[in-house]
Symmetry: C2
Subunit: 339 residues, 2 copies
Amino acid sequence: MYENVTVVGATGAVGRIALKLLAERNFPFKTIKFLSSARSAGSKITFKGQTYTVEEMRPESFQAGDLVIASTPDEAAKEFCPWAVERGAVVVDESGYWRMNPKVPLVIPEVNPEAVDKHEGIISSPNCSTTQMVVAIKPLHDAARVKRVVVSTYQATSGAGVAGQDDLDKGTRAAIENAAYKYQTFKHPIAFNLIPQIGSPKHEGYTSEEMKMVWETQKIMGDDSIQVCPTCVRVPVTNCHSESILVETEKKLTAAQARELFTSFPGITVIDDLPAGAYPMPKECDGHDDVFIGRIREDISSPAGIAFWCVSDNLRKGAATNAVQIAELLIRRKPVARV
Amino acid sequence: MYENVTVVGATGAVGRIALKLLAERNFPFKTIKFLSSARSAGSKITFKGQTYTVEEMRPESFQAGDLVIASTPDEAAKEFCPWAVERGAVVVDESGYWRMNPKVPLVIPEVNPEAVDKHEGIISSPNCSTTQMVVAIKPLHDAARVKRVVVSTYQATSGAGVAGQDDLDKGTRAAIENAAYKYQTFKHPIAFNLIPQIGSPKHEGYTSEEMKMVWETQKIMGDDSIQVCPTCVRVPVTNCHSESILVETEKKLTAAQARELFTSFPGITVIDDLPAGAYPMPKECDGHDDVFIGRIREDISSPAGIAFWCVSDNLRKGAATNAVQIAELLIRRKPVARV
């Protein structure tokens, strides 16, 4: 079980990081193969010194007991995940398509590891902006019960894939030369600009990205009473999402208590010394797997709240790292009978 | 009274815009002169087709009845404002130094015009990030009483002056070429990065910029019960500050009511059509005098709240425009006896 590993979407922005992680973490496997849509099939991938040819994904690409780590657009995940499940493979899926399906566990290993046991062939990894926020609020929730979260995001262009990063790079070069550039991925110029929309209109004036931060948080935390008011904004940063988070808790926490709770939680690194100018910033968190937290302070506008600043590599903990951690968790825990 | 206009700090980022505005708005004056510190004295300024030499500011530069519009660092304002006041001039001051002084009115003409009448020689214009937020919350306050504001800012480098804009430009060019660049104004790289600190540590983990948004808001609104939780972040945008704002009100407002209140308020332009991808963005608000509002929606995390996105040209409404508007207001209203 799980000795044969299949990586789907290895040529994308997240897939490339997933490959690095599988090598870095010495992920156990007997065989490994790489699948993609017809468009990328045939391209070559080097993994641990060997060259592999990416194969086109078909129903028969999947076999019983395979461990599939997938990073594809929603539409692809909708199609191929049932192929894998029908044949008895288990998919760790990074797309948004299956996340809110009641039969699919939505897992962050530091937060709700037990949820993986209930899978029926698909385990979803949450949206990047949700994952880092939920890792951050979990220790506060355990200690003081989180009632409400107000979050404003500062999201990097890598969240829109390789093409998004490319758009920022080319758009910035053009802006500096006062030249024209037609953006491919973004609806509006992103160089030296901000776009206060990520995803499409979804619910009462909130975007799909924003509602992921509401619904996925409630599902992962297993608590629908947690209220979230999100604003998601694209910023001209290449990689790493940042979030300004205000958490209201049932029980009052001091800043010192919150700092201690963050510090002792796995997967969180605290950088918090304002007088020394020390706090997490995207450039410094790039390439790291942790969720970084700083600017920890008591909310001065409510009786029991903690405000803080949270940065994480959205391609790593926000996607690839979390998926690989789910796969590792799956291997560590006793395989469960499939329903 | 007020026929002799003195512009202090005309060579700075805000001063340059103030000059443009005085010309554009055909600001009334009989004589005009330009003052600066010794460092910039002697430089030439062209205003309405005439060339002026910037003079070094001294106590005797000011005379009774002069109208002074000043944009200088706090330390300069601390020194020269008393010189002007002692000699009977009236200063509209954009620095932070006098704002919280109980004898100094802190004025946004659309919000608290009556406050100018109580001046004793100095009238302060608020901090840029405060001004656009207070313009935005005022119509909601009048209709439904604002109890609390949670705000995260996305502040442009022009807020740190000409040198700040220059740092972003040079830092970005260097980053693109993978070259080194030593930042002059910012403590950390700002190109493709975010700095979650503006100002210095001030109060319980909040920065001076953040506390301006708390204390100045309460003073302008004349209501110390308004609670504000701010997070101020520098972003790689050249000009225009953006803010993600959540307002909790005593009386419930619908999104439609809030939109109508914003639309009818002077100085606010609403751009709000998410399905069409229409909302304010820094690039488009640059060079305009209004406060722009979009993404208006009901807070889904509290019983009575409005969330919205607010962008304004920080050198204009956030500084120069507001100061010139205060000066215009001063001229319109009957001069008051000096205490």
